[in-house]
Homo-oligomer: 327 residues x 2
């Protein structure tokens, strides 16, 4: 507890970056970053709170990793290349073991994607972590939620629901050997789909990352695009690990409503989808799960089909302030 604010920054966060576009890093009133002619800056911010986004007993290494991963996922959803970040850390006390773990998790992912930490603020308070990230994207096109057209095919990367199942494994202390460990890892260590976003940049009509649940997020994409959608739940990719530990209906619930997937949801024009997909150098599964339809009312933007029939699930996606929801 003898660490001061400046010791914390010097010891854990002031690391040299290999980036030549960081002209002045941590230590002054502000950082100075070079701009790139012909490129646009993509900016996102995400906050995670102890007890809301992560449990108090989660390994700080995982918290550090996650704080950046959820931001990188936003950068991926824009088709951009991550560049630099700032960190705001509100901490109850200067716990060296916690800080060491947190910094290791954060920089593990930052180094992988060549993201420089250019500035931050360390204050005493409840455990709340905010990372703001910036990336660069070519000036000619970036991905947005708003470009989907009726007839476009809807795709999702990875296996939605595995992260939510992983959270359930942790919360309910489910013992399940390899499957439990796999799902837990999927929750704790989301993989930002940067490479996929880069490849989709000029070919996808719309894209977003799935963080609040597939169904909720597909509704947002439809609302932004002024469209509706049919989602065929029979097409959802199956997870062997989920099937081993959960009932079919629970699996479906996690896939449609579980949060924290950090996969990419995107649309492709039907006449180009096959050619585009065959050219992608995929590092993860991509699955067609539905089709964009003509605009419908706000309440009924997304129709789920199961065995060809309309299908309703009980629980909606995640909203921090919605009445009756728990964080």
């Amino acid at each position: 507890m003898s660490l001061g604010e400046f010791d914390i920054i010097a010891r854990y966060f002031a690391r040299k970056s290999a980036r030549s576009d960081v002209l002045l890093g941590i230590g002054d009133d502000a950082a100075v970053v070079d701009s790139h002619a012909g490129r646009k800056l993509v900016v996102a911010v995400d906050t995670i709170v102890e007890g809301v986004h992560f449990l108090a007993n989660i390994d700080p290494v995982d918290i550090g990793y996650r704080a950046l991963a959820v931001n990188l996922s936003d950068v991926a959803a824009m088709g951009a290349e991550p560049a630099w970040m700032t960190l705001s850390l509100s901490l109850p006390r200067a716990n060296e073991q916690w800080l060491d773990g947190f910094a290791r998790g954060l920089f593990e992912l930052a180094n992988e994607y060549n993201v420089a930490l250019v500035g931050g603020d360390t204050v005493r308070g409840p455990l709340v972590i905010t990372v703001q990230i910036a990336g660069w994207v070519e000036a000619d096109a970036w991905l947005a939620r708003s470009g989907a057209k009726p007839g476009d095919l809807i795709f999702v990367s990875g296996i939605p629901g595995e992260a939510a199942a992983g959270l359930a494994v942790i919360q309910r202390r489910i013992l399940g050997g390899e499957s439990a460990a796999f799902l837990t890892h999927r929750f704790l260590r989301p993989r930002p789909r940067i490479e996929l976003g880069r490849q989709l940049r000029t070919v996808a009509t719309a894209a977003m990352d799935v963080s609040d649940g597939l169904l909720t997020d597909l509704k947002k994409l439809c609302a932004a695009s002024g469209c509706g959608a049919q989602l065929n739940v029979d097409l959802l990719p199956e997870s062997a690990a989920m099937r081993e530990l959960f009932e079919v209906d629970d699996c479906l619930q996690y896939a449609l409503s579980g949060g924290d997937d950090y996969e990419l949801l995107f649309t492709l024009p039907p006449d180009q989808a096959l050619a585009v997909l065959s050219k992608l150098q995929l590092q993860q599964r991509v699955t067609q799960i539905g089709v964009i339809t003509a605009p419908t009312s706000d309440d009924a933007r997304v129709q789920c089909l199961r065995n060809g029939r309309p299908f309703r699930i009980e629980r909606g996606g995640y909203d921090h302030f919605a009445a009756g929801k728990q964080g």
Copy 2:
């Protein structure tokens, strides 16, 4: 409490900006901002926590104003022009009255400096507010803490200590008519010195904003510049309002160690100082308070003189995690 996360954003924070360089604002996974050829991006982040940086009973309008003001002060200290910001809001509950006040205070200052809110995150948690700001500065020069040279004259804008005195007025419920109201306002509504920073950009050898106390911050400037300093406390500008409500020694204590001034501390070469000062179009007082000296040890970087004799004050500046300090 029926407001959802998206209602909060739509109702209070999704405002059209007049800035043409915001290409995609709030509502997608990330914002897209244009870059400016030949200019560099200046980036700063500040977090304020209820109970640490502001009391629970402070008007939310003042909190919103302050959350941005402390960041603008960093932009000013770099000689840059503010451009856009992101906001992270961790809130215990969706209180409409609080949100309305907070947004009013935030945008009052944002509109004054043409700062666009381009993105944010709203989560449920303890009241913690993080604003990250970006501004643009010409490529040829920006202000840093590191350029001061022995012989340079040290200046400060405004009247250091008035903000700390204002906090004391609030905390001790001092009744003092106009003087009390004036000091309270100085604490609640710091004026970012953007115009002064812009004018100093190519002429000051070093600059920073005073947020943790004049003496502490001057030590930081000296450390960054590899210099020492003599600070003549007899030169400190006097505040009539402070003198009316506080003893001389308390005034000195506030001026040297009180935080929250958000004034600019800067250095000018002695042979140019007079010419530079006469050309500044000042909207606030600027006072010479000392001189940069040859490097000394870390512990003794700044020597205070009073009536020509070495002078020591008891209390140091603000450090969130220093042992025995209270927030």
